[in-house]
Subunit: 335 residues, 2 copies
């Protein structure tokens, strides 16, 4: 490997001068600068990241921590969005998955600090509140799909209420007046917010909330599609069954479709269905393809990095921005 010293020797200048050229310091004569640059090219000198860090104090690294990466809605597109935004600005992502283990999390943050990351993006698998105290005060931190208990850190979360309202209104606008909602029994922002959106949409159409049309699946959630099958079947067997069904997520739609077919009803002619997430492998592949509200993971990942790099507002009125991202409707064939 070529060192900065060898460059200096070949160029007949001091190491300090080479360093100044590398850092675009203006106090170098034009002729000297050109001489150094041509030697750098000739020797194919490449300053190491460590050496550059030593000079500039900028590591060009962004730490990307996740509590859990799973094959469902969350994770994938978020990482790709973050990585793309980082790459566009000459930064690299450090990916670390902590499996939600507080000890691993603490070690991971220490390691990231040790590597002098310029900041940390912390993304959770489901929308939830986290403790601000697990993050160091001296490192810029951006939360995605979660928010700090005391709102002391900037965050990006999906607008669950607007998303639930959009899903429900999509059915109401098609003329459906009996709309079922199958969700999960968890006191978390996603199920609570989407239920609130469902209620708001009904209210805006002057339709009273009927709890007989709402089903909450209890934990464990492993066999979620199967539990949804049972819930939707029971909804369809009511004396006055729903003609539209809003499923809390796309995975549940697998069970909903099976139940609708079981009762020999057609989708969307007899029963219309709307999902949530827009997991392509499900939504675009089921038959008929699913109309669903998208969790804009790619955009969240991208925005997180842009905020961390100071390209977007992170403070408003002296407070860390709590950004609620819009979840758009993806229209396919199930409504």
């Amino acid at each position: 490997m070529i060192t900065i010293k060898e460059v200096a020797q070949h160029a007949g200048v001091s190491v300090r001068t080479v360093s100044r050229v590398l850092n675009n310091n203006p106090h170098v004569a034009e002729a000297t600068r050109n001489q150094v640059l041509s030697v750098i090219q000739e020797l194919d000198f490449r300053p190491s990241a460590a050496a550059r860090y030593m000079r500039t104090g900028q590591s060009q690294l962004i730490g990307f921590l996740t509590d859990e990466l799973a094959q469902n809605a969350f994770g994938y597109d978020l990482i790709i969005g973050a990585q793309q935004a980082a790459w566009e600005h000459g930064k690299l992502l450090f990916l670390l998955n902590t499996n939600n283990d507080p000890e691993v999390e603490a070690r991971a943050i220490n390691m990231m600090r040790d590597y002098q990351v310029e900041g940390i993006v912390y993304a959770t698998i489901y929308h939830r509140q986290i403790k601000h105290s697990q993050f160091p005060k001296d490192l810029p931190t951006l939360l995605v799909n979660c928010f700090a208990d005391d709102r002391s850190l900037p965050s990006i979360v999906p607008d669950e209420i607007a998303g639930g309202r959009l899903a429900t209104e999509t059915l109401l606008k098609k003329g459906h007046r009996r709309v079922g909602f199958v969700s999960i029994a968890a006191k978390e922002p996603a199920p609570l917010g989407r239920l609130e959106g469902y209620r708001q949409a009904l209210a805006s159409f002057d339709i009273p909330y009927d709890e007989a049309l709402v089903r909450f699946i209890e934990e464990p959630f492993e066999g979620l599609a199967n539990s949804t099958y049972d819930s939707v079947l029971s909804l369809l067997q009511m004396p006055n069954p729903p003609t539209g069904i809003f499923c809390f997520n796309d995975l549940m739609v697998l069970g909903a479709y099976d139940a609708i077919r079981k009762t020999s009803l057609r989708i969307p002619e007899d029963v219309a269905v709307v999902g949530f997430d827009n997991v392509e492998i499900l939504a675009a592949q089921v038959h008929p393809p699913l109309t669903t509200v998208e969790l804009p993971n790619f955009e969240m990942g991208q925005l997180a990095v842009r905020m961390l790099l100071g390209l977007e507002e992170t403070n408003r009125g002296g407070r860390p921005v709590q950004h609620m991202i819009h979840c758009p409707l993806i229209e396919r064939k199930s409504v």
Copy 2:
């Protein structure tokens, strides 16, 4: 931030002595070592990664390059497996997705070299051959789900033939004698290998290969589940239809199930189905849950890092190991 110089001053020793203590150099008197360690603790001194690299020449970083990350079978578990193995050995992963763009790939490799990664894991989204020339000779490189044209780099790929044989034998052992195979029309190791395995399994049961039972879906593969629906329907409408169907991947099973239900046949009583991949979001959630051959992505990611770190054999008889990983059967309810 505390510097090594301050530690030296507080301990009343030279910077070189502190450095020796940090590097576990044995040529330091016990009393001096204890003195330095107690000052390090007292001042909460933490050598930066850059400083450590300068001392040891080890960056503790592993570059993880992917051509494409998608929500289907590949990617996810592989990254988690690699990351877990790296973490266990105190290393961090640098994740970069190149979108299969040669220019981005070249820049990414340069950046990784610039960061002095200890080696590179390069993983492709589908099993294929790649050019060895895109990788630098001076950096340990491990290929996953792909192999170099001249076999000059160690690689880990799934054993497609054995996997295809296993899927087919699972149906044959249950007594099925008419077994259909729905695959994709691509001259790549996965479809070619699984077809070869299908033929070998038939041969081992003395069943002649019948091309009427095999369907190849043409590109584009976007609506793969829908195309599979058509293929399986045409198989089931044959005068002597198959009673067992092997699908090239789990995603196609969505269409296969729909076609079987369309003809009012039961799974597995009338028609048994085996998939390939074991994508949990599909295989465990469809009804009935799918018996499938697993692409062991987690294990591949883990093994890649272990090989890169020299914990597993990477050369055999002077040649880079071309590891074929076993794809196990995951039994559920569709056979």
